[in-house]
Point group: C2
Chain length 279, copies 2
């Protein structure tokens, strides 16, 4: 059970940042770049980013039983080619570097469609990679046509701002306790976000096409932040990063352009807090 002080954290939706204190435990509605520009240097202890993957789907895909696969075709994932995607990546990664504290770390998740580009851009910007971490899915979507290997993984890049940074947070012993007392490796096993965890609207449609599993975010936060740290998620989505931070007594700032996602995040927090209070 969390302390009462934590249970009563007041999570707010805002549209404009006025001063430093207003960003703690806030979900900011707005464009990721614009909002980050209004935040001062060296603000966050850790950044988790789940940017659009730029999937470039080719055709419709049907399962062997002729049902259609509900692919990611959201507008937020549409880019006009690699060049535009790279430009977008450079811009947000540059702002992220500026608002990250000197000894802070950044996590970026992606698939083979985008992660090589993101990783190289990060290296070129001076980010120093600490690990690549592989989320290995217990229940991925199969390759229905049998023309490739099952794509059962997503990749995370974990990095510091600069090669010289040595005093970043890595809770080595804490990680050991999550791995039968042995050193935690970079292959992580989690299921997809399904069941009661997956947010669905009144028509039972998933609210967000790419909601991440909470245990993944919990491990990230437990590994690389301390209690009371401030975590930024520039692509907040439906708030998984915030929930994981809140659950482990870290503070957060999330940025999300889609107000509907933000409102769902707020619902999630309300219900999570009520559950904690035994309501």
């Amino acid at each position: 059970m969390l302390p009462t002080s934590v249970m009563n954290v007041d999570i707010k939706k805002i549209r404009v940042i006025e001063d430093e204190s207003t960003i703690i435990n806030k979900i900011i509605v707005g464009d990721c770049l614009e909002v980050m520009k209004s935040i001062k240097n060296d603000t966050f202890d850790m950044i988790f980013a789940d940017p659009p993957y730029n999937m470039q789907l080719q055709n419709e895909l049907y399962r062997p039983n002729n049902t259609k696969v509900d692919a990611v075709d959201d507008l937020w994932d549409q880019f006009d080619g690699f060049e535009h995607y790279d430009e977008f990546s450079k811009l947000w990664l540059q702002e992220a570097k500026r608002v990250l504290k000197k000894s802070g770390t950044i996590w970026v998740i992606g698939s083979y469609h985008n992660i090589f580009r993101v990783g190289k851009i990060m290296q070129d910007m001076g980010y120093w990679i600490l690990n690549d971490v592989h989320w290995i899915k217990s229940n991925p979507m199969p390759n229905f046509r049998g023309v490739r290997f099952t794509n059962a993984t997503e990749t995370l890049v974990w990095a510091v701002k600069d090669k010289k940074v040595k005093d970043y947070t890595f809770n080595y012993e804490e990680m050991k306790t999550h791995n039968q007392g042995k050193q935690m490796r970079n292959d992580w096993y989690f299921g997809l976000c399904t069941g009661s965890e997956r947010l669905r609207d009144e028509k039972n449609i998933k609210v967000h096409s790419t909601q991440k599993p909470l245990p993944l975010l919990e491990r990230i936060i437990l590994a690389s932040t301390k209690k009371g740290d401030l975590v930024l998620d520039p692509f907040g989505g439906t708030g998984t990063t915030g929930v994981a931070a809140f659950k482990h007594e870290r503070n957060f700032t999330m940025i999300e352009q889609d107000e509907s996602y933000v409102d769902w995040s707020l619902k999630r927090f309300k219900s999570f807090q009520e559950r904690l209070r035994g309501i």
Copy 2:
């Protein structure tokens, strides 16, 4: 047991390519780029490449102007190092694309130090990624200082020359038989190359610092080639790719600059063939 015709394959070391037929089951001593330039277009059914990752080694061996860099190279900052590595990567990947048949596939293995750069460069060159595959090591080197996660993986990129290529070889059913009858996924579990498989010299020193496990190469070859296909390994090392190809009745061409590695490869083949003949 392999057919006698295969067992008696005559594997030769050569220094110059004279005509097409001379590259079949040959190990060519020489610079990867120079040798590839002497091979004609659309020659290979599959390419496996394990390029050097070590930046320092890179700088020494492959500085684009062909000047050899002196031993300690602290003057080279990381950005400079990346630029040269990228240049080197573009050069060999371009030649690889040229000598790869239209419907051929290419595999490149790397770690987080280089694979993001290699992957992005491949995408920029028009290669179309089919899968990222993750070699997950059962016995990786621990992170001794406890400052990062155990780096227990290496990443492979599997790609075709162009987005339009659809008739590449993928032995779907064969792969199923290696995965309890179920679709093969992109997470592969193999131990490091150790024990009797690991080549060691008379002083018991490892012959090659990054010798890959044979089962890894066997899976790659069984997945993406047919019997009789011709496989290129531009960084042949101590010959694992050739041994895997030979074992499964594929032909190969390997290029290796270090003559000592080449001689070790020949020893490996001789001993492998003798074992097959029951000597």
